[in-house]
């Protein structure tokens, strides 16, 4: 099983590829992978359990605890569970910083419009900036092909059954992309409002997209994602006349979970509201 994505299926490989070129898979050892399938690189695991196995330990309740504490020596650990990903994300961040890059991590539910927003953003900015894209999907290179059609270099990561991108996948994809100094790298995460919230990729800003067809209550239902984001794009405003959706309410909910969230209303279809978003990117990049 894969620790980063939790996948249990088949060979459990992450595939990284460029559109029009054969992809190559990365065995699990390549990404942050504490728990190997067969333990063959950690011979220590193979020592015989011997007498420990059939040795019944009485569970004695400890005084200082509200539940019966197992017998044995207690070792204080105090380690962040996501430490490994966080460290790798910091390495990515250092690399991006050294190259004066701007890196955005786009997250949303499936179908909120990440790829469509990207396409329009790339087409608008490509004359003035070097742009690069990493596409994350469980399967297919469809989104990467859409990006490729804009002429922007893109690498597709297929996570298989994994529900989010992690810092090690970005690390590998960036080696493949080789982005230039002062460029803008946009990462489209796997469509999912839950899992990607926990995994820092080393981005400068996290951009969450909600579309008005999803209803106003997404921020309350998935608070972690909105809490961890810096910017919220409220997409598909062209559909406002046809949908029962209150812009005021969604903003109230957004700010209830994250008062610092910057919100932009836009339509990736018509381009309405895009200038403010594009300006925001321009400003981030120049600072």
């Amino acid at each position: 099983m894969c620790d980063t994505c939790g996948c249990e299926s088949g060979d459990g490989r992450i595939t990284i590829m460029k559109p029009g070129q054969p992809g190559h898979t990365h065995p699990h050892e390549d990404h942050v992978h504490p728990h190997d399938h067969d333990h063959d690189h950690e011979p220590e695991y193979h020592h015989e359990p011997g007498h420990d196995q059939g040795h019944p330990h009485e569970h004695q309740p400890a005084q200082d605890h509200d539940h019966p504490r197992s017998a044995g020596r207690i070792i204080s650990v105090e380690t962040d569970v996501l430490q490994k990903n966080n460290l790798l994300a910091q390495r990515n961040r250092g690399y991006f910083e050294a190259k004066s890059m701007l890196v955005l991590n786009l997250v949303s539910s499936p179908g909120s419009g990440k790829t469509t927003v990207l396409e329009r953003t790339l087409n608008t900015l490509k004359k003035e900036k070097d742009l690069f894209v990493i596409e994350g999907d469980q399967q297919t290179t469809l989104d990467a092909s859409r990006i490729s059609a804009t002429g922007i270099p893109v690498v597709q990561i297929n996570t298989g059954s994994g529900c989010h991108l992690d810092a090690s996948m970005i690390n590998m994809a960036v080696k493949e992309l080789n982005p230039s100094d002062h460029s803008v790298l946009m990462i489209e995460n796997v469509g999912n409002l839950v899992c990607p919230a926990l995994f820092d990729l080393g981005e400068n800003f996290r951009v969450v997209i909600v579309s008005i067809t999803e209803g106003e209550d997404k921020p309350l239902k998935y608070p972690q994602m909105f809490m961890s984001a810096d910017v919220c794009l409220i997409n598909k405003t062209d559909l406002l006349p046809y949908v029962d959706f209150s812009m005021e309410k969604v903003k109230e909910y957004l700010h209830r979970v994250n008062p610092r969230l910057e919100c932009f209303e836009l339509s990736a279809r018509t381009g309405e509201g895009f200038d403010v978003w594009i300006d925001w990117i321009r400003k981030r990049q120049s600072t």
């Binding site: 099983m1 894969c2 620790d3 980063t4 994505c5 939790g6 249990e8 504490p34 728990h35 220590e44 695991y45 359990p49 011997g50 420990d52 330990h57 539940h67 504490r69 197992s70 017998a71 044995g72 020596r73 207690i74 070792i75 204080s76 650990v77 105090e78 380690t79 962040d80 569970v81 996501l82 430490q83 490994k84 990903n85 529900c163 989010h164 839950v194 899992c195 919230a197 926990l198 995994f199 309350l220 608070p223 972690q224 809490m227 700010h255 209830r256 979970v257 994250n258 008062p259």
Partner: protein, 116 residues
């Protein structure tokens, strides 16, 4: 289901602690999970069963999960409060900018090593 990856991360931290101390196994792993950590406790317990079951060192171990409730602090009046759900609006003064000072925790507190 990122709880599976969370479980495997916990497992790895526990295993490396056991190896460091040359312990034959681990009987308990104590973790802290904040109510705003983005982790579903039931899903984590479920994931732990299968993750730990596959590890020679953690086969018989128990996962003790301590939930950490939300705690907000108002930047204006310093009032601290623990709402059931994320809410930045201060109940004392109405300011809408409270900071979450507790509830994001996701860490391995301790492990209990089996006697050699």
């Amino acid at each position: 289901m990122h709880e599976f990856s969370i479980a495997l991360n916990i497992l790895e931290i526990a295993e490396s602690t056991a190896l460091q101390h040359e312990a034959p196994g681990i009987s308990e792993v104590e973790v802290e999970v904040g109510d705003a950590a983005g982790v579903n406790i039931e899903a984590l317990e479920f994931a732990w069963e299968s993750a730990a079951g596959a590890s020679p060192l953690l086969k018989q171990s128990k996962l003790a999960i301590h939930r950490v409730p939300l705690l907000f602090e108002c930047p204006r009046c310093r009032h601290q409060y623990s709402p059931a759900e994320l809410d930045v609006i201060c109940p004392a003064c109405g300011e809408k900018d409270s900071l979450l000072v507790q509830g994001r925790e996701l860490k391995v507190k301790s492990v209990t090593l089996m006697d050699p």
